[in-house]
Amino acid sequence: MTSLTGWGGTAPSTAEVLRPSSADEVAHALASAGARGLIARGLGRAYGDAAQNGGGQVLETHALQGLGPVVDGTITVGAGVSLDALLRHLVPQGWFVGVTPGTRYVTVGGAIASDIHGKNHHVDGGFCQWVERFTLAAPTGVLELTPEDDRFWATAGGMGLTGVVTQATLRLIPISSSGMAVTTDRTQDLDQALELLSTDDRYSVAWIDLLSASGRAVVGRGDHAEGNDLTYDPSPRLAMPPVPNLINALTVKAFNELWWRKAPKHHEGRESIATFFHPLDGVRSWNRVYGSGGFVQYQFVVPLDADAVLRDAVSALARAKAPTFLAVLKKLGPQPGLMSFPMPGWTLALDVPTALPGLATLLDGLDERVAAAGGRVYLSKDARLRPDLLAAMYPQLPRWQELQAALDPDGVLRSDLSRRLPLLARRQAPRGH
């Protein structure tokens, strides 16, 4: 039995960990799961409890490897392949993944289950819009799913609750250089940042200093550079040792100040893929900076016309003196997944140590504003959402529940997340909790 948490290091539970090395072994695990059920787990980067299953089984997908050749701009890979391995394989050949999040250390299976987004979401859509097909081991059988099938879009962002993805075929972006052409701007306030994020640059993101009253930011925008150098070496340079909690309003304020000051007012230049997309991957185990109490990441999206909620959230967090490094602000576009997080709107993501007094009340209040505005929080980040707001935030939940129940009629797929929030339709005869 193994004690597991998400990346935030909170709310552990104990489960039996399985490590199947083939699709057949996955199917067998599903068929022989116990009363507490089973959930897949990739690299454990979900911040909360999405890949935990207390008292049940957790199926680690690491051994589901396999990197096929690039054929017509697509590649077929095992679900346990990380984006790190994928980029190391692809970039020197002149290819890039359609979507990468802020870390390379996620698996393809996890990327589908969370239907992750990246800096190009407003232009290119989310991860599953770059998936041509995948193999889903569901409790009712093994399925080959394409975007024409509703079950594809129930699995995209379905938090692993429709089955275990074992293999996927991804569409790729051709690149001629491993460099990124990047424009960096330092803004005095939030309005300027929102304006810069509304340009048609392929990749864009802003880091906001929530400890400043103005919401000042540094905005990075860019695209793959032209050229012929495809060298790619993203190895981490540093590792974070286990430390007591160093985070408080003072140290973070100093860090944010320095970080904003060192950014140029306006600069156009070249950056590496790792620097532009995955700055935190440069420090291994960076989550340890929050100490043993762990942290939560709060990420919400509100529709574009609800930017007032965004502003209120920024000032509420600033007033609470939440010691948060660089909140990430981004514009999102539409998304077809039934339970996918993105919608056309503004998303803000920030880390807060759990020890901040009044945090639960503060975030519960923000949840309410976000839901009332027609927005939602990101389940892959969540570890504390008010259960009563789930249905309002995910209006397609009933349709998803129908498809989910058809794929898993006996309730084999379970997670701590599915117990904490009312995700699953209540069944007549519960299989166990």
Partner: protein, 232 residues
């Protein structure tokens, strides 16, 4: 449900749902759902009827799902003067506090172990840490329960489930209103706050108020001849 990242339980079950301390603990944890079980409570539960315990817990789980925190709060003070001469009355105190506690704690521990998470809070007492002349019937029942709960906590190590033993001193409650006030007296709210912190930090034993930990570590070792002359 499941306890969230900020330590807020989904479901708290109080066994002994009329206990002032039990209720204060549930309130301090601000769970999504509070379930009260006891005589005359929304969930009918009789601590003395040990054969019914499994059925009660099974029904609660079937209805509400995982139990995140279970507070074992039931207990009787007895009437020392009567209990020490009437064997049936002395046994009645033991039946509720000790046998009822042993049974309910075991049923709950099995459930928490199966869940792979969850905490059992056992309300013990400093009266059980060093049993004294003035309330030895009650004290002995709590001594037995305290030892049992500590042992149970050891068996749960590695399972994801935990036991927290809470040892309050004199607490102003319905149960103690007829008694003379004792030194270091506290309130249910303060016991609840100590409990909340203990759960958050993963403690195995907490005292309320905290200073009693040091008082009791001295009292535990006072020779009997001296102890009987102390005004405690």
């Amino acid at each position: 449900m499941v306890t969230d990242a900020l330590g807020r339980p989904g479901t708290v079950l109080v066994l002994g749902g009329r206990s002032d301390i039990g209720l204060a603990i549930a309130q301090a944890l601000s769970p999504r759902t509070t379930l009260l079980a006891g005589r005359g409570c929304p969930i009918e539960f009789d601590a003395d009827d040990v054969s019914s315990h499994q059925g009660v817990i099974d029904a609660v789980v079937a209805e509400h799902g995982d139990l995140d925190v279970v507070v074992l709060a039931f207990g009787v003070l007895g009437d020392q003067a009567v209990d020490e001469v009437d064997p049936s009355r002395a046994v009645a105190v033991m039946r509720t506090n000790l046998l009822g506690g042993v049974s309910a704690a075991t049923v709950v521990a099995n459930q928490l172990r199966a869940q792979g998470h969850g905490s059992l809070v056992v309300l013990s007492s400093v009266a059980g840490e060093r049993v004294r002349r003035s309330n030895y019937v009650y004290g002995a029942s709590k001594a037995g329960l305290d030892g049992f709960a500590l042992g149970l906590g050891e068996t749960l190590r590695g399972s994801g489930a935990k036991v927290l033993v809470v040892r309050p001193g004199f607490v102003h409650t319905k149960m103690t209103q007829a008694l003379p006030k004792a030194p270091l007296a506290t309130t249910p709210e303060k016991v609840a706050e100590v409990t909340r912190k203990g759960l958050a930090s993963g403690a195995e034993v907490v005292w309320a108020p905290g200073a009693l930990r040091f008082v009791m570590s001295v009292l535990r070792h006072v020779p009997r001849g001296l102890f009987r002359r102390l005004p405690v």
